[in-house]
Symmetry: D2
Subunit: 406 residues, 4 copies
């Protein structure tokens, strides 16, 4: 007979409360530093769970006001759960991480996205996301951690701080800033450590904003539930940290906080490949995507070039970032013909499983990037047709408009 | 009974000989200009074929010397077949183009790619490509036109020439050039026109190198056999031209002539949507990819950031082009561990159905781009494993190494 | 700020304990009968959860003995949770059911399959299944309810009992039985009802073994998490019941209890289409599969015909059931060359996401059915090659054999 | 330079004229017999082409009369091209066949399907099929040979004739016949052989109607362009024959001549695995499907059980053939609500890339089979919705109804 005795749940190594500010909880940190000690240690092969607050650490509420988003304290982000040491991992090794599951808390079945001044709470119903702010759309989530990485060594940390410091110096003061230097204000380590050590970590610790050689905030939507990742190890134990869970994100994460952000629970299993950095020429993580990413075979694809045709018409020199933005602006112009507002379009393209490909970066002076929108996420036909596009009014987030059932 | 009488083949509107220099053939041109008259006219709904020489116009041979590639005359490219006018198309309309088939000539079952100093003839066996220069690899082609577009209006042409001229001016002399201004030398129109008109076209005509608002040399691999494209119309008749057929290409078309270039036959059907530019906010082509692109579900994915970790370690500011290159260099470093030479890696990643996604362009200062290699194109296991990677010798293109049969 | 107040979890309408025998719990029943009253009622559009015991109702344990399976009491199955009435549903309507999530209990992260005399407990690690009894294999689950349906009307129930009774009569006593008539022994309704009514339900209630016009035990693996189903409604409220949750199943569910059986929690949302039976000619459920079923693009495909080439060579007349079995036996013969035992093969093909297609049923006298095994579920290469297949020893379920790490 | 000299086309080993009756052409045969000598011999590794007439050998015309179909002479089918011997192949080996390309003749861009009394010529436009008889539908072809196999040994042929003879005997005279015994009338070998040998072949040769251990008429749609097949070898040289080319077919090939039948050209490459029958337990062919089969991710799925609910309501005993038919009849009833006639539905489901899965064959007494229709092949929305289905008039094959362009 099935019994509790032979049904051992996978252990939860870090528990958090998604309704409590991050800086009041243990096992959370928001800077990268080699001296943050592991909060827990696992054996290779062990399956375990880690709970995460959302990236802001409960700063955003499920309401229709955008003040939360406007007033978020960015010195305090991203809130990561960890570090987790893996027994036997040493610098030069490869840490294999299987992402076995990612799910929201049962008690918090919602997430949000924003264009930093417009909040957008939406419901997570099992595998699907819907939003009262974007009627007519429903899509399957590609849940993934926006941010996951091993701890840097002291040398690697020094390299980061140096090169980013030089960039900041070269650009002077700019808005938004080109990069974020170490910032003691808001730094948090979530463990009872020697105050001098805490001060050192706060002073030197790398900000979590960009992705770097150890992984970090790469915001790759395909690093999803079911994928296997190979991380370089820089410190004893590898010291894996994770956070910034996304229910879904489009390629490019168009708006600043573009994904559907959520708190939740992630399940891992790890193993070690000795000397893996040398074996695989592993300067950065590599990974095998999940076999269960959503499959929307039909896409409507927009092109973008490195010419600012939506602005002043300026010709850029083979700049794929400009090309990505132009493709996105072409898509937005199209979706506005259907009736979505510009704000809805930004949020939709940021959060839905949109695919953006680098087409070509050899045809001087124009890089070409495409952005494909899966047509199957709409409950109405959005394809071009002889009669033009039907413009609906999605401007109000009245649930009824969605015309639910089928 | 089946009879010839009721079996009407689709007409071939432009016939070329892939073994004859392009400038000796009719129906080929190599500049964009509104004054190039249509060489043929079709009715909406009609299915028709267009034959194309390879982009160089027969300058490259099927041999093991790289001199052809080294000495190619770039003033003469790309050789396009057309223009084809569509009855009833007017400026402001949308020209719908169905790409129904693309195939090599039976008499020329090979194509080539190059890193401009290394030639690489390879065989096209039905749907698959193999190369005597890259043993151990076989993949299904995603055939597509590298270059397809409608003719520009005089105003649009003037805009192009102005903005690209300004870029050239801003950069001064550089190698390679940042852009290509109009160049009378090598210009060709392939019709018997008033010599003054030919001179005008040669003097003003836009070079075919970059993609632009009308489509052009976008090198988007997913504009493949079976896709439906929506082009803005700028001149009476739309004047569609096509060329630079690819048997296969990876996202990014890494090396300059990265795709598998071929001569061949393309089958089209077209229709017109009146006022489509306004209806669809159509500043550039949009398209629906084919339902029959190859499906290699397992991919090994490499990340790249806007830091030149393969070079001098310089920090770039949110530059997706740098990130693409770093992802590619990470992939190359990995493939070299398996035994491929750097040159083989370049060619392989340029020509195989590699997928490159824009991960995120919001995490300052690092843009993140991924590059995924389908593992199913190799006849051996390339995945990371505990024992490291087995390094084989693929250095010589001896057929036997491929160990054909299965 | 995120607060508990504005984070309303989806309600759980039926709660069960997977470690307690089903017949001691409320909200469970194991017969189909129009007179079983709803245990709960929902409004259209509402998202809700239902907990289910495994199909046997906790009769099987997580051990290495096969006695549990051998001694299972089949008069007590399948244990269904329900019925759930939907407000406003009337006979003739179509009940739309969105299957939003299916997951095992955290406290019971395992399932089992069996060939009725060999038990096979296996671990469910997030999205993947592995088994200590079948080393070398790991696959993503296609979680689905093996059994889901609306309640029959009295007329429909009478039709079932009549036609199945006639079949039983025509075949006489056979082992295994051709069909299962109503059986009062073991019948259970899980509600405090008038004893006379309970007796009536037990006497007339249809057994849950076969699928029928209302859905029921169809064991269709693609009715998975994320799919939308359209059920005919036969009684006031529709009275939806569900159970027999599967973590994964291959097409055909080869062995009797072929899927990976589990207890768990299923999340639904429903709506009603008035008069849907007439609108859609709905004699049986239709459905839209999920966009997130696992994608294993490479498959090794075996053929089967309606000739018993694995037995006495008998020629059957266009019998697709025989053809399915022959395809399976061909696959088993192949897998045994790799080293799996016959029992492992049965379990593997029953539980893994194997695809079986009806090839053709027109080429007299041979129906043709195929069975495709996804090669990506093995951690080693199973494809045919010139040197033949490497036979490993998977005969003992020692964890080490799996050679874990990567 | 590209030259004809270094561009060697793949050789065509058998040339036919699709407008000439098969029995007037060389290299065609319509019976299976070990004594039919090879018409050509290839070396392993060689790429070559084979031309095929349509299965009837030009008996069907491109017209709107159904007389051709009604009067087809079935003693003369299927017309196969071959046999092709492969050097070194011996009984017991495995013949590996790569199907590299399949295409219609340029001069015959049409095919047909029929429900044997209704002819249905349709156009093949590149990769897509459309029909003037089924407006509103367009789908990508999954081209494949309906019939491909190696020659049987004398022993195997004797086995076939014995077991099928016994079936015929057991059933007596039936319409349609349960199987087809050898039939000298209409037999054809397409080579100048000793008249006594021709007589022997005609007398003993197995009819081509069913698939058997050597492959043959399996009508598996996934044996498509790009797939790799492993055939058992029964005679010296293997003696491969092929014919009955299909532009497209649905699973099950519902109506007798259900696929889109065409004449055309197939490109092969072969190799041999010595002793492959023993190595792979190869009682029947196995194969790897192509990576480029069309991808229509959204499907509307119908269920069928082994109860004749569309007829007299009879309960069958776990009969998957009945279940397949019921699923098809459910689909037809649905499509008729949209406006298609019963005949159009038959043809559509037979010819389109419809997927039929064996759901379960263990839930006595009902086998369950599903049939999924790709929604993307329709130019209008066919999904269920609250307002019911819009019924259009597709009854006349007026081109205009299709409302071409988009």
């Amino acid at each position: 007979m099935a019994t509790q005795a032979n049904s051992v749940p996978h252990p939860t190594l870090i528990s958090v409360d998604p309704f409590v500010p991050a800086e009041q909880q243990k096992g959370i940190h928001n800077r990268w530093h080699p001296d943050i000690p592991p909060i827990a240690t696992v054996k290779p092969g062990q399956t375990f769970k880690i709970e995460c607050v959302d990236w802001t650490g409960a700063q955003i509420g499920n309401n229709d006001s955008s003040d939360d988003v406007k007033n978020v304290d960015l010195t305090k982000i991203h809130n990561l759960s960890g570090p987790i040491a893996v027994e036997g991992a040493e610098p030069g090794d490869c840490l294999v991480v299987d992402i076995l599951d990612i799910k929201p808390f049962d008690k918090m079945p919602w997430g949000y996205t924003g264009i930093f001044e417009l909040e957008n709470g939406g419901g997570l119903f099992g595998i699907y996301a819907t939003s009262r702010h974007i009627p007519g759309v429903r899509f399957a989530g590609v849940t993934h951690p926006g941010l996951i990485g091993t701890a840097p060594s002291a040398e690697l940390l020094a390299t980061w701080n140096k090169r980013e410091g030089e960039l900041i110096e070269a650009h002077g003061v700019s808005v938004p800033p080109v990069a974020f230097p170490p910032e003691p204000i808001g730094a948090y380590v979530g463990q009872d450590l020697d105050p001098e050590l805490v001060k050192k970590i706060a002073k030197e610790g790398a900000r979590t904003v960009p992705g770097r050689e150890h992984g970090g905030n790469c915001d790759i939507k395909n690093l999803s539930r079911g994928s296997r990742c190979y991380f370089p190890v820089f410190v004893q134990g590898a010291n894996l940290s994770v956070g910034d869970l996304h229910f879904s994100q489009g390629d490019g994460e168009m708006s600043f906080c573009g994904a559907i952000e959520m708190a939740g629970i992630i399940t891992f299993s790890t193993s070690i490949i000795k000397g893996g950095i040398e074996k695989f020429a592993l300067k950065q993580p590599i990974f095998l995507p999940s076999p269960i990413d959503p499959l929307y075979s039909q896409k409507l694809v927009f092109e973008g070039l490195s010419v600012d045709i939506h602005g002043d018409g300026k010709q850029y020199n083979m700049d794929a970032t400009v090309a990505y933005k132009q493709a996105a602006l072409n898509a937005i112009a199209y979706l506005m013909k259907i009736g979505y507002t510009r704000e809805q379009c930004y949020l939709l393209l940021s959060a839905a499983p949109v695919e953006s490909h680098v087409g070509a970066v050899v045809d001087s002076p124009n890089a070409c990037v495409t952005l494909g929108i899966p047509t199957g996420i709409f409950d109405h036909d959005i394809l071009p047709n002889v009669d033009g596009l039907v413009k609906k009014d999605f401007g109000h987030y009245v649930r009824d408009v969605y015309n639910l059932p089928v």
